[in-house]
Amino acid sequence: MDAQRWDEIRVAFDELVELDAAERMGRLTTIGTTDPELRAAIESLLTADAEADERLASIEAALVPATAAEHFERVKASLSDRYAVQAEIGWGGMATVFRALDLKHDRLVAIKVLHPELGVALGADRFLREIQIVAQLHHPHILALYDSGKTDGLLYYVMPLAEGETLRARINRDNQLPLADALQIAREVADALSYAHEHDVIHCDVKPENVMLESGHAVVTDFGISRAISEAGDRRVTESGMAIGTPAYMSPEQAAGSTELDQRADVYSLGCVLYEMLAGEPPFPATSTRAILARKATEPAPSVRTKRRTVPEPVEQALQRALAKVPTDRFATVQQLVAELTAADVRPEGGLISPKVRSTRAIALMGILVAVGVVTGLWLKVGARAGEIDANVLAVVPFDVIGSGLEMWGEGLSDMLAHSLDGAGPFRTVPPSLVVRAWNGRADPTSAAQLGAVLGAGLAVYGRLVASGGDSVRLTATLLDVASRTIIGETEVRNHRDNVDRLADSLAVRLLGGLGRIRQLGAVQLKSLGSSSPTALKAFLRGEQHHRRLDMDSAAFYYGRAIELDSTFALAYNRMGGVAWWPGVVSVRPHHEWWLRAGALNRGLAIRESLLVAADSIYAAVETSFAPDSTTWAMLQRLFATLERADRHYPNDPEIRQRIAEAKLHTPIFGRAPEELRESFAHVVELDSTYTPPYRHLITLQGWLQEIEPARRSIAAFLALGPSDAYTESESILDAIWDPSGVTQAELELLFDTASLETFPVVSLPLETHPDSTEPAIQVVQAYLSRNDADEFPRNYLAKVLAFRGHLQEAKEAVGEPRRYLGRYVFTELALLGVVPPGRAAEVFSRFPDQSRDMPIPWWASVGDTASIKDTRAAFATSIGSDTLSRAEAGWANWRVAKADFYLALARRDTAEALRLASRFPEYHQCNQGCYYQRLTKARLLMAAGRLREAAELLDEGSNNVFAPHVPGDVIWRLERARLHERLGNTDKAISDYAFVADVWCNADDSLQPLVAESRAASQRLLTGEGQGRITGRSW
């Protein structure tokens, strides 16, 4: 290739890279007809372009960024005594911004650390002194300065962590803002500037990057920082163009290096910002600093109306005056500018900022994975009850908050009120987490009514919390009838800003007064969240806010603080359990301990929370003391009764439905077929597609049911939520594997090389039944083993997957001498299938520890070794008498004795006795292992006795083999069931089961091939014979 050819390629590339896929294809086709080589070159270049970030990652990481990771570590270490630095969240010309936890005040903050090369040139003391002046500013539209300092050579300052987006992001997205929004933002920025000017602080760097939009309101950041830098910097800084102002927004006098700047410099910059909000670009857009400054000095500001004709004339005139070259020609103060804009009598529709757009966090997909968000736009919905409004359901909308340092109360107040009002008379409240997920509006009647309609709430409460002079705050609330959109009542309370929690209580009392006028309430006891400590309560509320956003580490921190501050805080314990249960969260205690503790403290809570705390604690009790006995049975009945009660009270509550689905899945006593479980989780998603917990199980179950397309849609929806979730990685890999256009082997290997170890089991599980003969689950687990061969678990896991797919010999190799539970389980399966030589099996079984001692019983029965069964039985029978045995241990011992008796009868070929004993097993079969095998045996006995329908009923429940799903026995179960249904004439069921066997064992060992051939032939026969009546009575 020569330079001329490269030019040709490049020009075409530059053009095509901007086009969408369809247009590109068209152009490529055209080019290809005349110059196929050119087309090929462009195509490779386009592919490389799409992957350039990834392909160049290592070289760019080595050279380009100022080793962000190292910088992060340095900052983290040097601030560690006061702040727990969590992540880098932004980077600009002067500083890097980190999110951190302020350890002393228990709050999340943003720390800006000046770039080291800038720090070098600054007088630290001077800078810190300058910035302290700024710390005196307190205003609702100014982002407060909490702290500043110098450590390890780094200059930093600390601010509240602002939620929301910058005005820059908003302009980038919308280009031109609605007039009303632009004017409101300008007015709010002007308020802030005016207040600062009264305190002799000039901002000197007003620009869209320094305006945050929080719940639609403007908050100005970085007050006086630029000034502090210029004051403290030596000449190099001032003159290097490194900091100080931003050319596009800088007044001519500032650009000229004047040291006598006054508020009129800010007037000019605000003019530029307003201009850009209206026109979509600043008045002097140019590519180089010099060009901008030159134009500013010489050209008059362009008319905004040439860029946007609808801008009213008075606004245009005000802008012209704000952008005057000479300060004396400008407005003398920002307030004058505001007055002019207001006098322009622009009446924005409703005067409200358009709804805050939820920031969908960028989906961090690894490497080569393709973005999958396409379908989700159509898919997201919250609440399935639109149109069905319950007059007794009340939604408390997050409060609008104006005033820095109060942000947490936006949701915190709705948490408290929702809890206080839940269960008052006939009223129930919508859980705040659900409200928050559905909410993207503002505290106004229209948004509140829409939300109420979506959530099925007949009443809505909305309001605002405003900092009102000194340290006091004002809280107003409105009670709205959703259907008629009429206001039932309004109220206002005031208090010191430290007492917002008490404000919430007085507000709740007044709201109850309002509710009492429309419904008979009777005697109402106001429910609290269960802590009398205001600090514990605040920590808990912050925890709730992080929890809802799945920021589990921060949530755990705050719940932990709440517990530290109030050791009787039941809800905090309960939430902590939920967080600890979350994958990837490291908790000081296992989840069930937190849940049990919460259960013990469960008093005085509102109905919904009280039921959920109870359900979680029963679940924890089941988990910790499970045994096949009547006590467990009773606990499980209580668990489901509690959940069903909650479900009746709060129908279609996704969180309650999720708990029910989880309970069904994890307690297979009520074990259902995978179809039914899948239905349960799908229903939760249907109720609220933005709620992430159900997705993982839904995807796994869809995988098992070989519903690949629906599973991929679930993954897309899940990933589009941008969950900061341990499953993001595994679900992305799963999607890549399921992608019909496929990933290459090399790409797959790359994924496996970089995936975290916990990912592998999660990825392999849904793939285990995958009909594809490439058997991806096996590849996944092999990759897992190659990454972690020191551990026994991956080897056992590989053996399990191999055995399930019928690679029995390889499985035997993999399992070796089993030392862990799963390995022993697989080994037992293999022995039962005759793969292990009997001598070897007997020898290995003799070394099984007590915990697994009953595992070989079916095998001993099959080889007629009744002596070993009797020995084992005797050992268990003796242990029952011991008084050191716990209730659960005794339950297990009893069950094992019964199991031994059952197999002894079988070994004697006394089938009538065996069947009698089998029916005495508890009706529920939580199988630790091999117990599905007992049920299979029982089904076979029933079949042999001609009791086909009973057998079918039993087999239809599924093998419920939840502890280690997918062992060969599961396939045999399906084969047995297929044969049975064929005999019973249930053709569809038979076909589905035969197909399952043929798919799963498509590559199985020769010894299993006759069964595969049988399944293929049978499903073929049933499929073709379908129209000609059923085939029955085939001998088998």
Binding site: S44, A48, D49, A62, P65, E117, S240, S288
Partner: protein, 191 residues
């Protein structure tokens, strides 16, 4: 010893005004300062073996340039020059290292003192350097643009100024250059 900032500034201005001789005089000054800084950094924190070249270039700038009215073009030219020097330094370093590994050749002392990049990174640098030479033959502007970005950490705007092109052109150039480079370094070069 670093040179007097005023001298560097004077040379920079002369060079900006078109005096190539000034550029020649600037080079050794920047070269020395870059090496000195790298060495000093290592002395302070020996574990920082992947010290950012970009940060070094910028710090060199802050230390060397003290001038009234140094504006963007001068700054950009300085950084562009420093990025070329940084590239040479790194490539020399990589060659010396691989020669030493083979047992032949003598490692120049001054290079030994300034090892601020790991072995793997040095290998990558050699590959990159060769790719950039090939790109030079196709489009010297793009080759220099990548050099600015990779070895000097120049912003797109600074690069555009140093190369005398518009920001939009620089953006386009960088995009196709990166795609080209991805193919080249990935072992599937365009033919």
């Amino acid at each position: 010893m670093p040179s007097a900032p005023s001298e560097v500034t004077r040379l920079l201005k002369q060079w900006s005004a078109g005096d190539q001789h000034a550029r020649d005089q600037l080079i050794p000054l920047v070269y020395d300062e870059l090496r000195r800084l790298a060495h000093q950094r290592l002395g302070r924190a020996p574990r920082e073996s992947t010290l950012s070249t970009t940060a070094l270039v910028h710090e060199t700038y802050v230390r060397l340039v003290e001038a009234p009215q140094v504006d963007l073009p001068d700054r950009a030219h300085f950084l562009a020059l420093a990025s070329r020097i940084m590239r040479n330094l790194l490539v020399d370093r990589a060659r010396a290292r691989s020669a030493a590994k083979r047992g032949g050749g003598v490692t120049p002392l001054e290079l030994n003192e300034s090892l601020w990049v790991s072995d793997e990174d040095l290998d990558a640098v050699t590959g990159l350097d060769e790719a950039l030479k090939r790109l030079e033959a196709l489009s010297s502007r793009q080759s220099r643009l990548v050099e600015h970005r990779y070895f000097g950490g120049l912003s797109l705007q600074e690069s555009a100024v140093a190369l005398g092109v518009s920001l939009a052109t620089a953006k386009r150039d960088l995009r196709s250059a990166r795609a080209w480079l991805a193919l080249e370094l990935g072992g599937e070069p365009l033919r």
